[in-house]
C-alpha cells in the first residue's frame, strides 16, 4: 500500500518537540507504526503539485483541517487506486464527499479527538471579546495605562445571552463550560435536542433567525456543508444585536468574508474571534487579518499537543483496521459503502 500524508511543515519547533505529532516531521508517529509492515509512506507539506504527482498510485490519503489538502473531484478522478481518505482531526469539508462516495472511497475522521480543545478555545475567545482582552494587553506592550480606554468596551459575560449555532459534540461541550458563567444559553441545530438534554445543558431552542437578534454573543459549532456555506451572510450578520460578538471555530466559509469586515467597520458587530479561515493557510493579505476588533488565531484550536496525540492514535487505529480488513470505528465514518453516512454531512442544516 502507498500511504500519502499531507501535514503542516513543523520546522524547528517539530524537530525539537516530538510531541508535535501533527507536523510533517513527526508524521503522526507513522514511520515507527508502519516500520516492517511493507507499506510505502510519503509525507508531504505541498498540497498541490507534489500531491498531484503522487495521486495516480496512492492507496490511502491522510490530510488535516489545519493545513487542508483540498481533495476535489478532479483529484479523486486522478487517483484510481484511492480506497481510504482519513482526516487527522475533525471536519472533512475539504474533501468532495459526493465524489468520494461515487468512487466508493471510504472517508473517515477522528471524531471526538479535539472536541474539548475547540470548546475551550471558543469559551476563551468569547471571554476575550466580551472583556476587551486584546486591546488591554496591547496597552501593556505599548507602555500605556489608560483604564478608561480599556474598559469602555469591557463587559462581564455574566447575565449575557449566548447563542450556540450547531449543538453537536463541540456545541454541547461549549454549553457545559459556559453555564457556570450565569449566561442565558440559546441554541439552534437542525436536530433539536431531547427535552432531557436541553434541561441538563440548560439551553433553550430557537430557530436560527429568531435566535440571532437575541444574542450578545454567538458561537458557531456546525460543520461546513452546502447548507452552512455562507450561513452567516450579510443579512444575518446585520441582524445581530449592535455591538454583539461572534466567535467561529467551525469553518471560515460559514461566515461571509467581506460582509463580516463591513459589519465590524460599521460597529454592527463589537468583535469577531475564531480560528478558521478560507482558504487555509490564509494569505498575508486576507482581509480578516486587518479588520477592526478581531481576536483571531490561525487554525490551531483543534490541534493542541493533547489533541495531536489523540488524532495520531486515531489515524493509526484506522490504518491497523484497514490493513487487517476490519471495519473502521463506526463513529469515525463519514463516507462508507458508496454513501455519506455521517448525519453531520447527510442531513440538511437549515435556518
Amino acid at each position: 500500500m502507498k500511504i500519502v500524508v499531507v501535514l503542516y511543515p513543523g520546522g524547528k519547533a517539530a524537530t525539537s518537540n516530538p510531541k508535535l505529532l501533527g507536523a510533517a516531521e513527526n508524521a503522526l508517529g507513522l514511520p515507527a507504526f508502519l516500520k516492517g509492515k511493507g507499506h510505502k509512506l510519503v509525507v508531504l507539506t505541498d498540497k498541490e503539485a507534489k500531491l498531484d504527482k503522487h495521486l495516480p498510485d496512492t492507496d490511502v490519503l491522510v490530510t488535516t483541517p489545519f493545513w487542508p489538502a483540498y481533495v476535489t473531484k478532479e483529484r479523486i478522478a486522478q487517483a484510481p487506486n484511492l480506497k481510504l481518505v482519513l482526516t487527522a482531526g475533525v471536519g472533512s469539508d475539504h474533501i468532495d464527499l459526493a465524489a468520494a462516495a461515487a468512487h466508493n472511497i471510504t472517508v473517515a475522521e477522528i471524531t471526538g479527538c479535539n472536541v474539548v480543545s475547540v470548546a475551550e478555545h471558543a469559551v476563551m475567545q468569547i471571554l476575550a471579546l466580551c472583556r476587551n482582552f486584546i486591546p488591554s494587553y496591547k496597552q501593556v506592550l505599548e507602555g500605556r495605562w489608560d483604564i478608561a480606554e480599556a474598559v469602555s468596551r469591557a463587559h462581564d459575560l455574566e447575565g449575557k445571552t449566548v447563542g450556540i449555532v450547531g449543538m453537536g459534540r463541540i456545541g454541547q461541550r461549549s454549553a457545559i463550560r459556559l453555564r457556570p458563567f450565569d449566561v442565558n444559553l440559546l441554541y439552534y441545530d437542525f436536530r433539536r435536542l431531547t427535552t432531557v438534554e436541553e434541561e441538563v445543558l440548560g439551553v433553550r431552542y430557537h430557530l436560527l433567525d429568531d435566535l440571532i437578534p437575541r444574542c450578545d454573543a454567538i458561537t458557531i459549532h456546525c460543520p461546513l456543508t452546502p447548507e452552512t456555506d455562507g450561513l452567516f451572510n450579510r443579512d444575518r450578520l446585520f441582524a445581530m444585536k449592535r455591538g454583539s460578538w461572534l466567535v467561529n471555530t467551525a469553518r471560515g466559509r460559514i461566515v461571509d468574508t467581506l460582509a463580516l469586515v463591513e459589519a465590524l467597520k460599521k460597529g454592527r458587530l463589537g468583535g469577531y474571534a475564531g480560528d478558521v479561515w478560507y482558504p487555509q493557510p490564509a494569505p498575508p493579505d486576507h482581509p480578516w487579518r486587518t479588520m477592526p476588533n478581531h481576536a483571531m488565531t490561525p487554525h490551531v484550536s483543534g490541534t493542541t499537543l493533547e489533541a495531536q496525540k489523540r488524532y495520531a492514535d486515531g489515524i493509526q487505529d484506522c490504518l491497523a483496521r484497514f490493513f487487517a480488513g476490519k471495519p473502521l470505528e463506526r463513529d469515525y465514518l463519514i463516507v462508507d459503502g458508496g454513501k455519506v453516512v455521517s448525519p453531520s454531512y447527510s442531513y440538511a442544516f437549515k435556518g
Copy 2:
C-alpha cells in the same frame, strides 16, 4: 462635608460614554447624587500633590484599586477631619489600615461588586496561557501561518491540575467556572472551607508549599496583607512545576517582581498573566511589560462597565447612610470603631 474622590482620567472615552462611571469625568454619578445636599465634591486624578493640598479639610475620601491613591499614615496624619475612606472596588491594601484604625477612621469597600468580573478574567487568562493564545494571535497580525510554532506550546486545560490560592468570594467563583473544564482543583486558604463547601466546589485542600509543585496552573485570589506581601517569592516561584502557568488578578506585590522575570526567562514558568502591578499605574519601563510569555493587562479585571455600575451604586449607598448617621452595610466594613474588622485583613494568611 467635603468629599474628595480620586479616580482614573477618562478623557474622550469617558465624555462619550456615561457608563464609564469609574472615570473622573463621570465621578461615580456623585455630582447628580450630591446635588442640593449641601456638600462639597472635589474630583481629582492627581494622587499626590493635589490630593495632599485637600487633605487638611477632607471629611470623606473615595479611592479605587485601579488608580490607587496610596493613603499612607503620613497622609492620614495630615487629614484631621477624615472620618470615612471608601474604596470604589474591592481591595483596600492601598490604605494604611492600622493608621486608619488608630485615627478612628471608618474604611469600607464595595464587597462583592466585582468578584464575578475578576473570576471571569482569571479563567480567561488561564485559558490564554494554557492555549498559547497571544502568540497565535500575533501570527495573524504579522501575516504568518506557522501552525507548528503556535501549537508547540498549546495545551488543553482539560485534565490539568489548577491551584487556587485564596478561596474567598473570587476564588470560589473561579472554581465554579473552572470545574466543567474537567480540571483537578486544589486550593489553599488560611481558613479551610467546610466539608460541604469543598464537596460542592469540587476542590481539595493542600498547604501552600505542598500545593505549589503539584499544579500546572495557579491562580491567586488572596488580598494583599503583610502576610501575603511577597508570598510568591523566588523560592516558591522556582518550586512551581517546570513550564506551569501563574495568573495573578489579586495584587502585584504578592509576586516578587524580579524573581518572576527570572523564572520566565529561565523557562521555569511557562507563562504569567494577570492584571495587577506595583506601583499602579505601572511605569512604561516596568519589567513585567517586556518579560517573555506574559499575557498581562493593566488593572482592568474588576472594572468592567457592569462592575462600575455596581461600585458606583455601592459608594452612593455608603454616603447616604453616612450622611444619615446610619451604619454602613456590614459586609463592606474593613476598619470600624478603631479596629480592623474584616477577616480578610485581620487574620494572618500563612503558607
